[in-house]
Homo-oligomer: 224 residues x 6
C-alpha cells in the first residue's frame, strides 16, 4: 500500500475524534489545532502530509507604497514547492487579513496538493468552493495580506498558539470536528489503534441503542 | 393539557425572541444564555425541562496515564438519569474540549430527552446530525473531555458566565436566535403574555407592510 | 447611467476582495469592516449608500420599569428616514443584544433600502430570511435592545472599532468575504481600477490553470 | 452609633475578604466588583454608601464638533448631588476613556463624598493623589469622556458585567483586595458575622504559627 | 527657543490629559496610544521626537537553531541610528516577549535619546530603573525577542492597533496618564491651546474649592 | 554544595532573563510562565523546587449550601505536604477567585517553603506582605475559592495555558521580570551557561557605555 492509498484509507474509515482519543491515551494531548480553524464548506475533508509555512504578522500595517515583490516574496516559492498530497499549513495568527485565496488554491490544486490549513483567514470563498479545494481557516475576510503579513520560511517546524507542533511530513487530518496532527514517527501505531477503537465504538452504539446504560456499556466495552 | 402538550404548544406557536421581550418587561433581564451557544444544525429547536449539570474544567490537562473511571465518573450517572422531555444543560465553560458527542446523544435520545445545551463544545457532528438530536453548543471540536474536564454534580442550580441561572425543571427553549430560560415559578404568566404579544406583532407587521411608519405603528400598537 | 444602475453594475461585475486590493494600493488600508460582521445568509449581497446610525451601549442594562418611548426613541426616526438604495449602518458594538430584527427589516424593505449592516447582532433570523432582506451582523441573538442600548444620532459620520469611518453616502459593499466601504469622493477611480484588475486576474487564473508557476504569473501580469 | 460611626467601625476592624467569605456562606456570591477595578494608590480604602451612576459608551466616538453641554450634561447633576459619605459608583464599561479626574474629585471631596468607583478608567492621577481622594478604577488613561461616553441616569440600580448589582445606599467597601458591595437590607447581619469571623481567623493564625496543620486547624476552628 | 527648549517647556508646564482634550476639540480623536502602555516607573516622563520602528511578530516562535545575526539584524541599525531627543517607538504587538531591555537602554541613553515606547513588553526592569531611562510598555517579561519577533523597518510611519499613527518627528509625550502623540504639522497650535487651557482649569479648580458647583463652574469658564 | 546552597547561588548571581536566553538557544522556548503572573511586591524573588498543584475551576460557582470539607478537601493535604525550599505552583486558571491567602502563607512559611506561584489570584495582600512570603499571581482579589474551585491533585505534572510544563522538583525562579521554570534534568548545564553569559553581558555593557555601537558590540562579543 503506497502513501496515497494509506491516506485514502484514513479518509474512508476514520474521523478526527477517534484519532484524538487514541493519542490522548498515549499522552499526546496537544494534537488538535485551535477550534477556530474550520472547513470553508462543512463537508470538506483533508488527509495529507504537512508542508508547514511560517508567517509573521505586522502588528500595524505597512503604510505607504507597497513593494509587491518584497510583500509576497517567499510565499510564491512556498506555494510553487507544494508536492502531491501535501497540505499548506500556515502558522499565521492574525484575524485581520487573508492568507489564502482562489488563485493560490488554483495553483495548489494544479500541483496535486491535498488542501490548505490556515491559522488565520481565507478570501475568495466562492472561488474556493467552485474549485472544491479543501481549505480550513478562521473564516472569510477579503482584506489582503500584501501590506499586513509576510511568509518568512517554509518546510520548517511550526507551532500553533495552543502548543501543537507541525513538522514537515506529519499527517494532517481535517473534518467537520476540527484538524488533528498525527506525528509521522508514530503514525502507524496511532492509525492501527484508531481502526481498532472504531470497532469498539460500534459495539457500544449498538448496546446503547438496545437500552444499555452508559455506565454498563463503559464497564463492558471500556470505550466511550 | 399535560406537560408534554404544554411544551409542544410553545414549540408550535412561540419563538425565543418574543419570550425574551416579555421577560424584559417583567425585569427578568438575564434569561438568554450567551450568544456563543448555537444549534448544531440551524433548524434544531429544543423545548424541554432543564436537568442542570455542573462541570469543572482543568485549566491544564491531566498529563500522563488516564484513569478513565475517575475521568468520566459522575457523567455517566447524570446521563443515565435523564428523564423524558428533559434537557442536559452543562455549565462547562471551556473552549478546548467537547462535553457531548454521538454516544451520549444516542443514550439521551433513547431516554426521551429533549436535547443538550452546552456552555462549551460538542463532537461527532455527523453522528449527532444523523440522530437529529437537538444540541446547542459553541461549535464542534474533536478533543475529548477525558483528561480536560469533569462532571462534579447534577440536578443542582447552575449559573452561566453572563449571570443566567438554571434550576432543575426550568423551561429551556432554544431556536435559531439562541437559548432562553423560563423560570418554572413564572412560566404560565410568561407563556400567556408571549402568546398575546405574538398577536400584537402580527398586526404591526401588517400595518408596516401597508406602509405605516414604525413610529406610528409603535404609537398605535405599543409593540415593536 | 443613474446611481441605481451604477450600484447594479458593481453588484454584477465586482466583489469585495478586488475592491479592497485596489484601495490598499492607494493607501486606503482601513476600508473593510471587522471580520465578525457576516451575512445572515451566505448568498446575501449588499450594494448601496451608507445611512450611518450611532448607537450607545449600556455597559449594564437598565433595570426596572422600561420607558419604551425613550428606549427606542430616535431609532424610529432613523428607520423611517431610510431612502431608496440606502443601507442602515449601525455602529453598535455590543455582543449582547440585537440591533435589528424582522419588523425593522419589513419597514426598511418597504422604503426600498438596500440592507442593514450592524456592528452587533440581529434577531428574528427566520423572518429576515423569509423577507430576503440583506443583513450583515455578528450573528443572531434574541435579546432585545430596549433595556440595553439606544440610538443617539444618525446621518452622522461613524467609526468602527478597527478604524473604518463611514460617512453618509459612501458605498457599502458586502458579500461572502466581508463588507467594504468605498469613500464617496474617490468611488469612480476605485471602481474603474477594480474593473480593470478583474480582467488581469482572469488572465492569471488561466495561466495558472495551464501550469504557470505563481512566481512567473506575478512577474508576467503583476497581479496576484 | 450613627451611620458615619458605623462606617468608620467597618473601616477600622474589617477588610473586604472576610466580608466576601461571610456573604458566600449566605449564598450572596456576586458581591465583589470585577478584579480589574483597583485602587489608584494601594493604601486607599473606601467605606461609604453607593450613589450609582449609569453611563453609556459610544462604541465609536462622536466625530466632528463637540457640543460640550450635551456631552457632559447629566454628569454635572450627578456629581453635584453627591451627599456626605456617598460613593460615586459608575457603571461605565469602556477601557478607552476616563470617567473621573481631578476636578471631579475636587468637587466630590468638597461635598464630603467617600470616594469614586469606576467600571472604567480615571485620569489626572497626580491630582487625585495630591487630593488623596479614594478612587478605584481600571487604571489611568488621559483620554477624555466628552466625545466617547455619556452619563444617562443616576440614583438608579446598576449592574456590573460580572452580575453584581448596586442599589442606592448599599455599602461600598474597597481595599487592596478589591471592592465588595454589602446590600443595605442585610448589612447588620453581614457586618456582625464578619466581626465574629475575624476573631476566629486570629485563633487559626496563632495555631498555625504554633505548628498546627491546616487540616487540624480547620477541623478545630471551622474557619480557613 | 530651540527644539530641546521647546520640548523642555512641554515637560515643565503641560501634562498629557490637557493635550488630549485640546486635540479632541480639533477632531484629532486618535492620539493616545493604547492604555496598556504604561511607564516602567510611575514617575517616568517622556517628551521627545518619534523614531518609529516596525516590528513583525511570529505567531509561532521559530523552533530550532537560532541564527542570531538574522534574528536581531535591522534592530541594531535602528538602535544605533537614534538621535538626541528621539524616542524609539516600536509597533510590536505581542504580549509574549520583550522588545527592549537594559543593554538597548544603555546604548540609547548614550546617544541622548529621550526614551522608548513599546507596543509590547520590556525586560531587565532593574537595569532600566538603575539607568533611569524612560520606558513605557505593557510591563515586564523576561522572554527574549530573538526567536519570537523581528524589526523589519524604521523611520517609517507606523500605526497602533487603536488607530493612532506615528510619523518620524511627531512629538511623543508620556506621563502617568498615558502616551499621547502630537502631529508635527500642528504642534505649535496644539501646544499653545494646551497652555491656555491649563490656565482655565486652574480657575475652575479654585472656584470648586470655594464651593462652586460643577455646573456653574462649567457655565462660567467653559472648561471641565 | 547542598541544594539549598545551589539555590542560594542562583538567587545571588542570576536573574530570570539570562536563564531564559540560555534555554532559548537550547531550543527550550516554553519555560516562562504567562506574563500575567507577577510578584505581589516588586522586590519579591523566589528560587525553589516545584510542588505542582492541579486545580479545577467551576465555570459557574456552586450555588447554595457550601460543604466546606469537600470544598477545600485535598488543598489542605497539598499545603501540609510542602517541604523546605519547595514552591506551591498552582495550575488554577480562573481570574475570579483567590487560590492563596494569608493563612496558607503562614502555614507554608512555617514549613520552610520558598514561595507560591499561582495561575490565578491571591488575597489578603497586606497579610502576605507582612509575612514577606514570596507570592506571584495575577494580582489580588478578595473572592474566595470555596464555592468556585477545587484542588484535585498534587505532586503531579501540570501545564500552563502557554504550554509550559512543571514537574515536581523543577527549579522555579521568579523575579521582577517573570517566573521561569528550569527542568530538573538539565539544570546544571543551564545554570552554568547562564553564569557564563552574565560575564559576557557585563563586557558588552561596559563597551556600550564607552560608546561602542550595538552592532559592533554584538559582532565582538556575540551577546546582546
Amino acid at each position: 500500500m503506497d502513501d496515497t492509498q494509506f491516506l485514502a484509507r484514513i479518509r474512508a474509515e476514520l474521523f478526527t475524534c477517534v484519532i484524538g482519543d487514541v493519542m490522548d491515551t498515549m499522552g499526546l494531548i496537544h494534537q488538535f489545532l485551535p477550534p477556530r480553524i474550520r472547513p470553508v464548506d462543512p463537508d470538506m475533508v483533508i488527509v495529507g502530509r504537512a508542508m508547514p509555512v511560517l508567517e509573521a504578522d505586522c502588528a500595524t500595517p505597512r503604510i505607504g507604497h507597497l513593494d509587491e515583490h518584497r510583500a509576497f516574496g517567499i510565499m510564491f516559492d512556498a506555494l510553487d514547492d507544494l508536492k502531491r498530497d501535501e497540505v499548506y499549513v500556515c502558522s499565521g495568527g492574525s484575524d485581520t487579513y487573508a492568507q489564502w485565496g482562489e488563485l493560490m488554491s488554483t495553483r495548489a490544486a494544479k500541483l496535486g496538493a491535498a488542501g490548505a490549513v490556515l491559522n488565520g483567514r481565507h478570501r475568495d470563498t466562492l472561488g474556493i468552493r467552485r474549485l472544491g479545494f479543501p481549505t480550513f481557516s478562521f473564516g472569510p475576510y477579503g482584506q489582503d495580506q500584501g501590506v499586513r503579513g509576510r511568509v518568512i520560511d517554509y518546510r520548517c517546524t511550526i507551532e500553533f498558539p495552543n502548543g501543537v507542533r507541525v513538522h514537515t511530513g506529519d499527517i494532517v487530518f481535517g473534518d467537520i470536528d476540527g484538524v488533528v496532527i498525527v506525528p509521522h514517527s508514530k503514525e502507524q501505531e496511532i492509525i492501527d489503534a484508531a481502526l481498532e477503537k472504531v470497532r469498539g465504538e460500534n459495539k457500544v452504539r449498538s448496546a446503547i441503542e438496545d437500552g444499555m446504560s452508559t455506565r454498563d456499556a463503559f464497564d463492558k466495552y471500556g470505550v466511550m
